[in-house]
């Protein structure tokens, strides 16, 4: 269903005003704009963490461990080692966003390349590429990510690698179906018949039509990726202590739910807010690009 929807978007012949129209429509969507603001705020928070954060994210004092939300000097309390929660949540945005967004970006580049090639060239190459992709598609994403990280071992790089491998197949599949649909459109067929080189056709006609839909699809994956990346750390398979990362913080604070339950729940709330913002923005983008809607 998603694929059909995106194919429809791709097949629309893009008039010069199409993209500015999309921008105009999304700027008028209050929900999407709000989500965008939240995301921008998160990114700014991550970039400027050392200037915004009130304390050192690594140093704590045992005497003031597990203080509740609203403690003087520690507005969001302290963690199990007496570190300021607000500071760690701010710093946590760095690794959590990086771990969540990077795999989708890399997978977007690789997956699109595979999918567009397969879709444009077609034939045996298409079958070969897509059957390989099917194999990875046969694993539920959580299982594949965890199996790969489990086999590779914990760590930031291995986590990124596993997640990237997880997201290449769905992106490649969408890219392939969208490209195949576009290839069959009359003016592309005509360009092929007129003897324009394959590269030119891809660059001028295909890319312009397919990148948008693939991009929208990829933005929708970011929220999944964020949840999965933090999930890996939550299991002890991603980021290692003492780095501040929301999933890992949730893991270590889980033992404190009988003492400071709401402090323990804070890192998860951050993951939730970020992930829902990406989802809302992606939905907004999709409806802004869909002329039917």
């Amino acid at each position: 269903m998603t694929a059909a929807n995106l194919e429809a978007i791709a097949k629309v012949e893009k008039s010069p005003g199409y993209w500015s129209g999309v921008l105009r429509r999304i700027a008028r969507d209050p929900v999407a704009m709000f989500a965008l603001c939240v995301i921008v705020a998160m990114i700014l928070m991550a970039v400027f963490a050392p200037w915004i954060a009130p304390a050192d994210p690594y140093r704590g004092q045992m005497l003031r461990r597990l203080r509740p939300i609203g403690t003087a000097g520690f507005p969001l309390g302290t963690d199990e080692l007496g570190r300021d929660m607000l500071t760690r949540l701010i710093y946590g945005a760095r690794l959590s966003l990086m771990m969540g967004v990077t795999p989708v970006i890399i997978a977007f580049l690789i997956g699109s390349a595979i999918g567009i090639t397969a879709g444009y060239v077609g034939g045996k190459l298409n079958s070969a590429l897509m059957r390989t992709i099917d194999v990875f598609f046969a694993f539920p994403s959580v299982l594949l990510a965890i199996a790969l990280s489990g086999a590779l071992g914990a760590g930031i790089f291995n986590g990124l690698l596993s997640l990237t491998i997880v997201f290449i197949p769905p992106i490649a599949r969408i890219a392939e179906s969208v490209t195949t649909a576009v290839r069959k459109i009359e003016y592309v067929e005509a360009a092929r018949a007129s003897g324009a080189s394959g590269f030119t056709i891809v660059r001028v006609h295909v890319l312009g039509n397919v990148i948008g839909p693939i991009f929208v699809y990829a933005t929708g994956l970011i929220s999944v990726s964020l949840i999965l990346a933090s999930g890996l750390s939550f299991l002890g398979l991603g980021v290692k202590p003492p780095e501040p990362e929301w999933g890992l913080m949730l893991n270590t604070l889980r033992n404190a739910i009988y003492v400071q339950p709401w402090v323990a729940a804070l890192p998860g709330l951050m993951i939730f807010i970020t992930s829902i913002s990406f989802n809302l923005l992606s939905d907004g983008l999709r409806s802004a690009m869909d002329l039917k809607a």
Binding site: A138, F139, P140, V142, L143, A265, G268
Partner: protein, 288 residues
């Protein structure tokens, strides 16, 4: 129909073959074809090897865990499906109204919430604060003494509800789009304008939306089975996800390999079944 099923089966075989290779490579540094051949032969006979950590056959460990996870995942899918259909239908039927906005918001929460965190929050509320429901485990006797009585079922509630959130969100979004799509068909618009009985419209919508909704539900069941590790860790639920976690931290490669293989094959098979059933319900939607 039969040829379609046969075609679909033929398509599944290479995928299953690929899946087995991936599982095999996960734990073997050197991909020796002979080794692989032997492994496939023993695996096909139901022998998944012996766990390094416990010395017990992997198959028996897995079999027990699979039952527990299935119980959890089926219940969660059911809850998610019922709620998802409800929200999705309401949202699609009253498209654009505040009811739609509310239902859509609930469904987007469903797909955005980190479920392991939701599980923790539910534990905080219902176990730590209210002390109504147990936080972990599968009951006083573990899964060995499982019975469908309140003493055991209360252990199932929190994990099942937590798990149901994902299919709820996805089913709701699918159903909303389907319902809205069907209702925008001209003759329905006409009927509704004439104020013709809503029951007929309702039946038409259900009949047309059901195959896709059911297919989504089937796939979700597969995702839950394979992705149960986070929730099972939060609730110490003795299923395949829990087993997988232990296999990873015990560096128990035979157990890791066996668990992943069985879960992935389950998913492949489920995909096949969903396709076939969906085609039987609605022959127009043959997926390529």
């Amino acid at each position: 129909m039969l040829t379609y099923i046969a075609k679909r089966l033929l398509h599944t075989l290479p995928v299953a073959f690929g899946v087995s290779i991936v599982c095999f490579l996960l734990v073997h540094d050197r991909p020796l074809p002979v080794q692989y051949g032997l492994w496939v032969l023993t695996t096909l006979q139901g022998d998944l090897g012996v766990s390094i950590a416990t010395g017990r056959p992997v198959a028996s460990e897995l079999w027990r865990a699979l039952g527990n996870t299935l119980m959890l995942a089926v219940l969660a899918t059911f809850i998610g499906f019922v709620l998802g259909c409800l929200f999705g239908f309401v949202a699609g039927y009253f498209r654009g109204s505040w009811l739609d906005k509310l239902a859509s918001f609930v469904s987007i929460i469903g797909v955005s919430v980190p479920h392991y965190w939701l599980g923790m929050v539910l534990v905080i509320i219902f176990s730590v604060q209210l002390n109504w429901l147990p936080a972990t485990g599968a009951g006083p006797g573990g899964s060995a003494d499982w019975a469908w009585d309140w003493v055991h079922v209360r252990h199932l509630i929190l994990p099942a509800v937590t798990m149901s959130v994902i299919p709820m969100g996805i089913v709701a979004r699918t159903v909303r789009a389907l319902v809205a799509d069907i209702l925008s068909q001209e003759f329905i618009v006409g009927q509704r304008a004439k104020g013709l009985l809503d029951l007929g419209v309702f039946r038409h919508v259900v009949k047309n939306a059901a195959p896709t909704a059911l297919a989504v539900m089937g796939l979700q069941l597969g995702y839950l089975l394979g992705g149960s590790i986070l929730i099972e860790t939060v609730f110490s639920w003795p299923g395949t996800g829990f087993l997988l976690g232990q296999a990873i931290f015990q560096r128990d490669l035979p157990l890791l390999q066996g668990t992943i293989l069985v879960l992935a094959m389950f998913f492949v098979a489920l995909n096949l079944i969903v396709d076939v059933v969906q085609t039987m319900l609605d022959p127009r939607v043959q997926r390529s």
